[in-house]
Amino acid sequence: MSKENIVFRSLPITPHRPLLPGFAPALGTTLLWTGLLVALPLSALALRPWEHGPGAMLHVLTGDRVRAALALSFGAAALAATIALGLGLVLAWALARGPRSGPLAAVRRGLDLLIDLPFALPTAVSGIALATLYGPRGWFGAPLHELGIDIAYTRAGIEVALVFVSLPFAVRAVEPVLAALPAAREEAAESLGATHLQVLARIVLPALRPALLAAYALAFARALGEYGSVIFIAGNMPGRSEIAPLLIVIRLQEFDEASAAAIGLLMLLGAALCLAALSAARRALR
């Protein structure tokens, strides 16, 4: 066969052939719903505070009460997310590595169910329950009060509520990744002479870093926006234990919608900044 007889023919390629069937309607629907559900309300929030001019906006935000509330909200959320991450890692470990058979397996399964309950519980219910438990006459509150430690109606109370609601996010972000880690890596490390602590620090935790960051981001976001459970246990002293979401509600009740929106906008920007930083850190780890 001569060379001329060989004909290379490529398959016909239609220009702009979509990779996914129904790509256009899928993209359209996605954009429409994201626009209606997310972008529109957020833009409204971004525009609303400026109606009395930048001066009025600045005035709202430089107030001591607002500054204290914002600092408390972000600080408390960061601390709560840190605590939730530590506890969440231990809980995720118990769930992922716990016994699959024998009497302790039932304990593991029970734990698995319990973890998700804060997801489903109305936050006001959690708040009231926690306030009762940690209140001066509560089961935990009374003995702690004897020792001179007050939880309810202090900043510590805020942390307790925030950790309670954000813990499941931390656990559920870490657990599947932990469960999927190949056991052989840890065994390899052990056979090379590593102690359990070294295996944890040098093999397991590095592999979990992206998941831990995601867990922190989720827990932080949840804690930052939390309102219902906190107001029952926080005491809500302006400038001391008043969180920003509560201040927004107070401003709304005073019909000062512009101020409420201004605080809301600031929270939104702060949250976006924190989440973007965490997401950048996660990408850097890849």
Partner: protein, 350 residues
């Protein structure tokens, strides 16, 4: 280093586990554990390495019981099936791991570690990959890195779990030859698990055949071939042809008249089956012989398909390529050159 496996048992339930497996590995010896899946090969390897606990029996190194010594204190190099490299560390970081986790007073300095890593990577011929991440390595490279990592702590014993399992067949052969040469150069006592019988026969000094948690036979490849402990071992270790017949007065008479009778051990009588490798036969023309159906060249052999008269049983033999190939339709008598006889239950007749 002398390794002694002394009647190791492990009860997993459901017929899995190990049943009083025992053998010794001489210093510098390369032993391969083979057997069908579920035979307990990997379990035994993990027990030797301290990654699993036996319910009975002992593992001794130079006479010292390793007992409940944890894996990290055994100083045994373990190469895992899919290498189990640490993805967040560079190749050099992986190899240095065993040195880095040592207690401070035993830990080599940074410069010493670097020198040792360079030496090991050169030994396994991947010196240029020191800074690479495991995810970017090919299967063969990962395998070499895993080996270097296992060798870094100067282990007294090397354990390999299906070390060639994830490699493509071409690389597989090369790396097998290379590994064997390296093992002999280092004089390192080695135990390897594989499901590939051919691999085991080619690389190991001795091969241990396991089945259902029991050790059936441990011998050199030559002895395993010449005197398999039972029919299963013979069948497991290679392609096998089987011809039923009877042993009577020191002669094995096959059921098919196309197979030539041959001398059997005296003093045994009854049903028997002759097992043979497809290349251990010779054909000679005979009117009542097996019919040639087809012939194909196959490397140094011709692959010849035959049908036995009477039973109609079809099978293939390998005939040296230098011998004349019989024509299709021709009838040939089959002489078994080195048959091994077994009872119908699979026990050897010797």
């Amino acid at each position: 280093m002398n390794l002694e496996i002394d009647s190791i048992s492990l009860d997993y339930g459901a017929g899995r586990g190990l049943d009083a497996v025992g053998f010794t590995v001489a210093p510098g010896e390369f032993v391969a554990l083979v057997g069908p899946s579920g035979a307990g090969k990997t379990t035994l390897l993990r027990i030797i390495g301290g990654l699993a606990r036996a319910s009975a029996g002992h593992v001794r190194r130079d006479g010292v019981d390793l007992g409940s010594l944890p894996a990290r204190r055994r100083n045994i190099g373990f190469v895992f099936q899919d290498y189990a490299l640490f993805p967040h560390l560079s190749v050099a970081g992986n190899v240095a791991f065993g040195l880095k986790v040592r207690p401070r007073r035993l830990r080599p300095s940074r410069a010493e570690r670097r020198a040792r890593v360079a030496e090991l990577l050169a030994l396994v011929q991947v010196a240029e990959l020191a800074e690479a991440r495991p995810a970017t390595l090919s299967g063969g490279q990962s395998q070499r890195v895993a080996l270097a990592r296992a060798l870094a702590t100067d282990p007294s014993l090397l354990l390999l779990d299906e070390p060639f399992g994830a490699l493509d067949p071409l690389v597989r052969r090369d790396i097998r030859v290379w590994l064997r040469a390296l093992q002999q150069r280092l004089g390192l006592t080695t135990v390897m698990v594989t499901h590939d019988r051919q691999e085991a026969m080619e690389i190991a000094d001795r091969v241990a055949v396991l089945r259902g948690g029991k050790l059936l036979q441990i011998d050199t490849p030559a002895v395993l071939e010449a005197a398999p402990a039972d029919a299963f071992v013979m069948r497991f270790l290679g392609e096998t042809l089987e011809f039923p017949g009877r042993v009577e007065a020191g002669v094995f008479t096959p059921v098919s008249s196309a197979i030539a009778p041959f001398a059997a051990p005296p003093g045994r009588a009854g049903e028997a089956v002759a097992l043979i490798r497809p290349w251990q036969v010779r054909l000679s023309p005979a009117p009542d012989g097996a019919q040639i159906d087809e012939t194909h060249p196959a490397g140094a052999f011709h692959r010849i398909s035959l049908t036995l008269p009477g039973t109609g049983a079809a099978f293939e033999i390998l005939s040296p390529a230098e011998l004349p190939t019989p024509a299709r339709g021709q009838r040939m008598r089959i002489e078994l050159l080195t048959p091994r006889l077994f009872t119908p239950k699979g026990e050897p007749i010797r």
